[in-house]
Point group: C2
Chain length 297, copies 2
């Protein structure tokens, strides 16, 4: 039987093999920014979000091919957020997945532009007629822009995260959950909802996938916070213990390691419960939920 | 008779009065990024691009209201590009239209996020059902993303501009035209094409508006280069003579002042010729073309 780790690895390989089509490099000097975009997006990500688009799409009869463009658009958006978060004015990180971050491999101006280019490209990919029917494309664009945006999406989450770090605000449960939901949760929700939108799921099915996404989203963040404390630096591929050094609000600093682990398990159980509506078809998503809190990187 | 300057001022006032609706500020700490976005977009721009959306829309019976959301989306995108261009790692400018640039008024991290937020918001606004019919929205999003993007759009133009400055490449006509077309021209083309898309213009009408946009686009850039040399710093509201100090390729450094002025006039004539198809309805766009090379800021 294929394990969830193998399924993820196989999907990532298939997904990676298709990225070349999306990033044509020319000999023109301006192509440097496309090189930087490609450098960052091919930098060994787990492809968790694209995998979720593909797996939720499968529940409604969507093929790898039918979900691919949406999956690539989402990964572009995710990659832009990593490039900008790593910048000196933000988290100032030199390494990402064991390799130099974009502004280290290129330069700061190119990294800012590469992030801008990837963000813009997400919407170019989604708006293309090859992606889906017109109304579906608009819905995907609208959901992605809201989830990534400055009002209650990813950009708002990053702003709040910076604010809390600077003002050493009390590390409350409400605050770190709010940051998590906006900063990472909403893109994971988009990943799960996109498959439902592409596959024209019923409102009830879509609601269940959103519940699932919230459960794995929080658990994923808790697991990240735990890895920052317990992980193996070589395996994780980035500097660890940063949260504590920066006095950052995390689930671990709030609850301690043991309770954080317990909490992650509870969220994973909730996520799995939400899959009941899909019967045996939800098996892979079920396995994925368990994997999220056992992964080592 | 109302002069074109008055028409522009009146439109800008009406446009500005509607911006509040688009930028609700809350008391939540993450709203700081929305404040920064609003600070930059309300920073006294001429609203040339929104005006073009409105005027080209009018040719096909579109009202102020019908074109407003597209005009705001485009101004969001334009404003994001100014915020990121002003960053220390890019042009490192402290003043924009006589006021502190976003990273000076706030801080660098907030300015990066404000740019990201505005870029994302452009697509959120366009994808909303209030903007237009589904197929029209997709077309607008696709055109804007391509025009602003990293392959041959604005981001590519900024990359090439940085590359040329760094490598002190020979200041060829081909090179500065290529930079201009990508860096500023394509958004001006979008502004003129958007009205045609919203108003379901014929392919011939649309083509003529694109020709018009190319003429005023190049002339606008030449006029900017001239203002950088001849302008009044207090009136223009930013540091001048920067191009020369940075050894930047401009139309003026290439042709000299007199020939640059002559060239701008020729492009304006070409732009006006393209309006013939619209008869007297093209009067305002005709006046605008002349204004572009006589403006003092």
């Amino acid at each position: 039987m294929t394990t969830i780790k193998e399924l993820l690895t196989n999907y990532a390989a298939e997904f990676n093999a298709r990225l070349n089509e999306f990033f044509p490099i020319s000999t023109l000097p301006e192509s440097r920014v496309v090189e930087a975009m490609k450098y960052s997006i091919t930098n060994g990500g787990k492809r968790l979000r694209p995998f979720l688009v593909n797996e939720t799409g499968k529940l409604f009869g969507q093929s790898f091919e039918k979900t691919l463009r949406t999956a690539v658009a989402l990964e572009c958006l995710h990659t832009y957020s990593l490039i900008h978060d790593d910048l000196p004015a933000m988290d100032n990180d030199d390494l990402r997945r064991g390799k130099p971050t974009c502004h280290k491999a290129f330069d700061e101006a190119t990294a800012i532009l590469a992030g801008d280019g990837l963000l813009t490209y997400s919407f170019e990919i989604l708006s293309d007629e090859r992606t889906a029917a017109p109304a579906t494309r608009n819905e995907l664009i609208s959901l992605l822009a809201q989830g990534a945006g400055a009002f209650s999406g990813m950009v708002a989450g990053q702003m709040l995260d910076l604010y809390v770090a600077e003002h050493s605000k009390e590390n409350t449960e409400h605050l770190i959950k709010h940051i998590e939901e906006m900063k990472t949760g909403r893109l994971i929700t988009f990943a799960c909802e996109a498959g439902a939108v592409l596959g024209q799921a019923t409102p009830a099915e879509r609601q269940k996938l959103k519940e699932y996404s919230r459960g794995i989203g929080i658990a994923f963040q808790i697991a990240d916070d735990i890895l920052d404390v317990e992980g193996n630096e070589a395996m994780v591929g980035k500097k660890l213990n940063k949260d504590e050094e920066q006095g950052k609000a995390t689930f671990v600093s709030l609850y301690g390691l043991e309770k954080a682990k317990q909490l992650a398990k509870e969220y994973i159980e909730k996520a799995k419960d939400a899959l009941a509506i899909f019967g045996t078809s939800g098996h892979t998503l079920h396995q994925l939920a368990d994997y999220i809190i056992t992964r080592q990187k």
